[in-house]
């Protein structure tokens, strides 16, 4: 059946995770939406990598962690944009994960691009 079901299904598609210096939050936000994502979730994280410790309890700036649900094409655009633009000079890592689709008739018929809410 193609009629929209009253209850939304769990998201199936991709999750892109981007971890970067907090200074980049506002530009990453714009880039992610520009790449076609319809939303994002962001949280404050601390970390350590090639550039040493980042922890705002020590007056250093924190990192932020973006989590973006999107389809495959958007996932690639997000990854390409953020790593292409900031990967060279800024502390940034990014990866993607395919989400699990419950093997269930109603949602199996949905294309992966469908938003989670009807």
């Amino acid at each position: 059946m193609n009629a929209p079901s009253p209850t939304p299904s769990p998201y199936h598609g991709f999750v892109v995770v981007v971890i970067a210096e907090a200074e980049l939050e506002s530009v990453l936000r714009d880039d992610i939406l520009h790449a076609g994502a319809q939303g994002y979730t962001v949280s404050e994280v601390r970390g350590r990598g090639n550039r040493g410790l980042r922890d705002d309890r020590l007056l250093l700036s924190n990192n932020v962690r973006f989590e973006v649900l999107c389809d495959e094409a958007t996932a690639r655009r997000v990854l390409d944009t953020v790593l292409g633009r900031y990967g060279r000079h800024y502390g940034i890592v990014a990866y993607a994960l395919p989400t699990w689709t419950p093997p269930d008739a109603s949602s199996a018929h949905r294309p992966p691009l469908t938003r989670v809410r009807d």
Binding site: E21, E23, R51, G52, L53, D56, R57, L58, L59, L60, S61, N62, H89, Y90
Partner: protein, 316 residues
């Protein structure tokens, strides 16, 4: 002898020791933010109250001189870092900007110290604090990029001018100026009565942070450690000279020397991260927080007063 030092410095040392011992003592980032906001407003208000009670036109010339002269620090620093330190272009420029800009907390420690010596200074010194935030940041970017188009000046100007340091200092200054001490007296118990307490907490946290930064000293290298101690002394000497030329009182000149000697660790890092992303922030923060800040708070502030007094005696 210890009595000459402000007890807030004791809290800095306490934080430092706790950090070096690996204590779990840490200030939450929310508390840091709160203390920063408080200190910026308190200092701005104080300057504004002062402005409200005096003739402002007499401040225009000294402000201009002090601001223009402040551009010397980053230019000298840049040459030293590039030629003697053989640092990359971008890093030399970014570090220069940090040292040319100012630290609000170092200023507060200097003012406290003066108070304990029974020396006067004028509240309008915090007006200079506001205007000394910018020039070095601009010089730093100019050094890094020349006047090339890609320097994205608009974004940088925006970052600096709307950074919370400037917004709160300038805003509180205006509020203090408009309402005056009488009109704003309900704010006094909070913003003046508690000043030392908040400063003590902030310095406690700064001690912990500085201890954590000591790890960066290895990266920073011996050269930068020396730079982090000698550069502020040179800048302070410049401050003494400029203060004397402007005919400022000993107290005011001391504070000017402290301002010139202090290195930024709030406004500059954020601005430089945007303007010169090629520069490694561990170098500039390691030097400014790990070397210069503790040096200034513990040894520099008294030293600069001695320098000021000696110079004034010599010239008298």
């Amino acid at each position: 002898m210890l009595a000459a030092i402000d007890p807030v410095v004791g809290f800095f040392v306490l934080g430092l020791v706790a950090g070096l011992l690996g204590s779990d003592l840490k200030l939450s980032s929310g508390l840091y933010d709160t203390l920063t906001i408080y200190l910026l407003i308190a200092i701005g208000l104080k300057g504004g109250f002062e402005l409200a009670s005096r003739d402002v036109t007499s401040l225009i010339l000294p402000t201009a001189v002090i601001v223009v002269a402040s551009a010397v620090t980053p230019m000298v620093a840049y040459q030293i870092l590039l030629r003697l330190g053989r640092l990359p272009h971008a890093d030399a420029a970014s570090i220069s900007a940090h040292y040319g800009s100012v630290s609000v907390v170092t200023f507060a420690v200097g003012a406290s110290y003066l108070g304990r010596q029974g020396l006067d200074y004028d509240g309008f010194m915090s007006v200079f604090l506001v205007f000394l935030e910018f020039p070095a940041l601009i010089v730093g970017v100019l050094l890094a990029k020349g006047l090339k188009a890609d320097a994205n000046w608009r974004r940088l100007a925006h970052e600096v001018l709307t950074g919370k340091a400037i917004v709160l200092l300038l805003g509180a200054l205006l509020i203090g100026w408009i309402w005056g001490r009488e009109g704003g007296k309900a704010l006094v118990p909070f913003f003046e009565g508690l000043f030392k307490g908040f400063l003590a907490l902030f310095l406690l946290g700064m001690g912990v942070t500085t201890a954590a930064r000591f790890g960066d000293l290895r990266r920073v290298g011996l050269f930068l450690v020396g730079f982090g101690i000698l550069m502020p002394i040179v800048s302070a000497a410049g401050g003494v000279l400029v203060g004397w030329l402007l005919g400022l009182s000993v107290g005011n000149t001391h504070l000017l020397a402290v301002l010139y000697a202090s290195a930024s660790y709030i406004a500059a890092p954020a601005a430089m991260r945007i303007a010169i992303p090629e520069a490694n922030p561990a170098l500039s923060m390691g030097a400014s927080l790990g070397v210069t800040f503790p040096f200034n708070v513990v040894a520099g502030v008294p030293l600069y007063l001695a320098m000021t007094q000696t110079f004034y005696r010599m010239m008298a």
